[in-house]
């Protein structure tokens, strides 16, 4: 029987961790019980992007978007919506911007400003069913390339499209393919870099989980273009679901003859295997990645020779990132000119960002290059929650830097972000508000790179460690002005002398916060205060006159440092206080402050 209704349940990692699998099973159970199973389709998809609202359930053809669905809600949805056609108002998503219930999910502001190319199928198709991918013109680009284009034409089309590597470097993909195709060897390799390691970035995971076939198809096209018949997807073992779905997709493609020998009768063979990484951040660097596939310790080596000349097992190799590959089939379907028309002159197409931190709509979004940061953060992201003030946005993860309020209207593209002292990176975007201490943020990222440094070259191994020591001192209140100069000196030296991209970019978070928030560093060093109230040694809490005496703070204090009677202003005993901030979170009227101007004033009184 033809399905009259389709229920799409998000099966991305975010929603799965809040029980979307169980929700699916419950739907299955209730629908069967009510004899509706045949007429209602039940589909587990990839990530919808609006992870903040998960678990997400979308009901077609009405396009009703249910958010925060719990297992107990399933019966009501089936009884009311599926059976009687009355959407359950209580569960319909509210737009975080204007707090209105959104009837039709394409009206959500989160989606209306987006343009989805790499994520075109994520949340739309069932990633476990190759037919759904084929229904969306899947493998048509491969068929077109194999039957009507020569490898050279394939590369020329890619060059014309202006696609640049989405993994961080922004190197033109067409050029990369051309280099690999010009190397003469009987064996060449195509590698998909799915070793996504930036804290807070998960776009590659979403593509692999939601649309694995697009990556497979693109790798085949690339293989044909450069003359390779063996591909590897290097994926981190921490992405079990992505690995599972990719394996499933590879098996399905092989079954249909879309992967394997003599594809589309063109004489072109291609085989694809997955290699699991152990989650070392440095293995995202292509030479370290190849070393890891070869079974060696994942450490980078000097370039040149570039992988296109001497790569995996000494053979020419082309390495592209997941998101880059996800763009490829569409380029051949709709043409390079179409792709070129999107975005800016030097950065064509779109970019996926993983928006996180102090933002209303945490999630994945894809916008044309040239969209401003302000549009991304305020229009799509829904702005900063809890009436806090925007402070900075960190792009490019541990390799990038901070961008401040005055640069928010800069159109996003590869070159503009570099000019601002940050970088595109893989697309992590962490928003920070006035409660974030920039010294602490820099310390967090540096801690990450210190942990992840492979130790091969001295500047990165020793230098980043020394920088972290200094930052720890500053956060503990033991910093001096000289330390700031050393940080800058060391940072620039590490950038200049490190072997690979990890070391060359590791000092960026420190250098860019030093540049934009030097005053905050100086406050830590000279005044010995942390204005955001994050660094425990440099923070004091004080209760302001606004206090209504509700006693909530006293009840929440873990060390009983707050005293006061009901309806009277409370006070904090700073000798007992451990600066955990629990009272500040508990206060209903914002009467507890860690702002230095507040507590120094109190002190003087």
């Amino acid at each position: 029987m033809l399905e009259r209704i389709q229920i799409l349940i998000c099966g991305g990692t975010g929603c799965l961790s809040s029980h979307s699998k169980e929700i699916r099973n419950e739907f299955e159970k209730v629908l069967t019980e009510m004899n509706l199973r045949e007429e209602a389709g039940l589909i587990m998809t990839g990530c919808f992007g609006l992870c903040e609202k998960g678990p997400v359930v979308i009901v077609y053809p009405d396009e009703i978007f249910y958010s925060h669905v719990r297992i107990d809600d399933v019966r009501e949805i089936v009884e009311e919506h599926i059976l009687k056609g009355r959407p359950v108002n209580r569960l319909i998503v509210t737009d975080p911007v204007d707090k209105q219930k959104v009837k039709n999910f394409s009206e959500l502001k989160f989606y209306s400003k987006q343009k989805r190319i790499a994520l075109r199928n994520c949340g739309n198709i069932n990633p476990l069913d190759i037919n759904e991918y084929i229904a969306k013109d899947g493998y048509l680009a491969l068929g077109k390339v194999l039957t009507t284009m020569s490898p050279k034409e394939t590369i020329d089309e890619m060059k014309k499209s202006g696609l640049r590597g989405r993994g961080g470097g922004g190197f033109p993909t067409g050029l990369k393919w051309e280099f690999a195709s010009k190397s003469v060897d009987s064996q060449k390799y195509v590698i998909c870099n799915a070793d996504e390691g930036d804290p807070g970035a998960f776009m590659d995971r979403a593509v692999l989980e939601g649309d694995p076939h697009s990556v497979i198809e693109a790798m085949e096209i690339c293989g044909y273009a450069i003359g390779s018949n063996q591909g590897y997807v290097y994926c981190r073992a921490e992405y079990p679901l992505a690995v599972e779905r990719l394996n499933h997709a590879i098996a399905q493609a092989k079954e249909l003859g879309l992967l394997g020998k003599n594809i589309f009768n063109s004489g072109f063979d291609f085989d694809l295997e997955i290699r699991l990484g152990a989650g070392a951040f440095v293995c995202g660097e292509e030479t370290a990645l190849m070393a890891s596939i070869e079974g060696n310790r994942g450490m980078p080596r000097l370039k040149p020779p570039f992988p296109a000349v001497k790569g995996l097992w000494g053979h020419p190799t082309n390495v592209n990132n997941v998101e880059t590959f996800a763009n490829v089939p569409v380029i051949y379907l709709k043409g390079a000119d179409w792709f070129k028309s999107i975005g800016t002159e030097k950065s064509s197409g779109t970019k996926v960002f993983a928006l996180g931190g102090k933002i209303a709509n945490t999630g994945l979004l894809e916008v044309p290059m040239g969209t401003t940061l302000r549009e991304v953060i305020y229009d799509i992201g829904g702005g900063i929650p809890n009436k806090r003030k925007f402070k900075a946005v960190q792009t490019g993860g541990p390799s990038g830097g901070c961008i401040t309020e005055e640069s928010l209207d800069t159109p996003i593209d590869f070159d503009n972000l570099v000019a601002l002292g940050s970088m595109m990176g893989s697309g992590g975007m962490i928003v920070m508000d006035e409660d974030n201490c920039m010294v602490d943020v820099a310390r967090f990222y540096l801690e990450f790179t210190v942990d992840e440094s492979c130790g091969k070259c001295t500047p990165c191994r020793e230098g980043t460690r020394r920088m972290l020591d200094i930052l720890n001192k500053i956060c503990a209140g033991e910093g001096t002005m000289e330390h700031l100069d050393i940080l800058e000196y060391l940072g620039n030296m590490i950038k200049d002398t490190s072997l690979c991209g990890l070391g060359q970019t590791a000092p960026n978070p420190v250098l860019s916060t030093l540049k934009h928030f030097r005053k905050e560093y100086e406050q830590h060093v000279i005044d010995k205060v942390c204005p955001a109230g994050v660094c425990p040694n440099l923070t004091n809490y004080v209760i302001l006159d606004k206090c209504i005496g509700c006693t909530k703070c006293a009840k929440n204090c873990p060390v009983n440092a707050i005293t006061g009677s009901v309806k009277q202003k409370h006070s904090i005993d700073l000798t007992k206080c451990i600066r955990c901030g629990a009272c500040k979170k508990a206060c209903p009227v914002n009467a507890i402050s860690s702002k230095p101007e507040d507590w120094s004033r109190e002190k003087n009184v």
């Binding site: 059976l83 084929i134 048509l140 009768n265």
Partner: protein, 122 residues
């Protein structure tokens, strides 16, 4: 699969099950499925619509259920919304009428005056 044609064939076939997720401008058949509609037998009517549409291989037609329109005495009520927004309301639809409505109205584009709300008598 060996040719591009094979792939296209598979695509067109697969598209059918996904039609409702992508075709927004097709004809919508809305069936009143509140308590009144269900009690009057809207469910078998809806199933019949689904069968007829599948049998005729119609692609841009969506069958969906809606709540009560207020004319409970005339249930099962079926409203057909065309691409240009024209609405036709059929009342007291029985399984027997479905094939006729699909054939005449959906395929040929001819409204069936005799089944429309207003002409139908209590």
């Amino acid at each position: 699969m060996k040719t591009l044609e094979d792939l296209k064939q598979l695509r067109d076939q697969a598209k059918k099950t996904m039609e409702m997720r992508y075709h927004k401008d097709g004809i919508r058949i809305q069936i009143g499925m509140a308590t009144c509609g269900i009690a009057a037998g809207a469910r078998p009517v809806m199933n019949k619509f689904l069968e007829e549409i599948a049998a005729r291989n119609l692609s841009d037609v969506i069958v969906t259920q809606v709540g009560c329109m207020g004319e409970c005495a005339f249930e099962p009520i079926v409203e057909i919304v065309e691409k240009d927004g024209t609405k036709t309301v059929y009342a007291k639809v029985s399984e027997r009428m479905v094939a006729e409505i699909v054939e005449e109205h959906i395929v040929m584009g001819k409204r069936l005056d005799r089944y429309m709300l207003g002409t139908i008598k209590r």
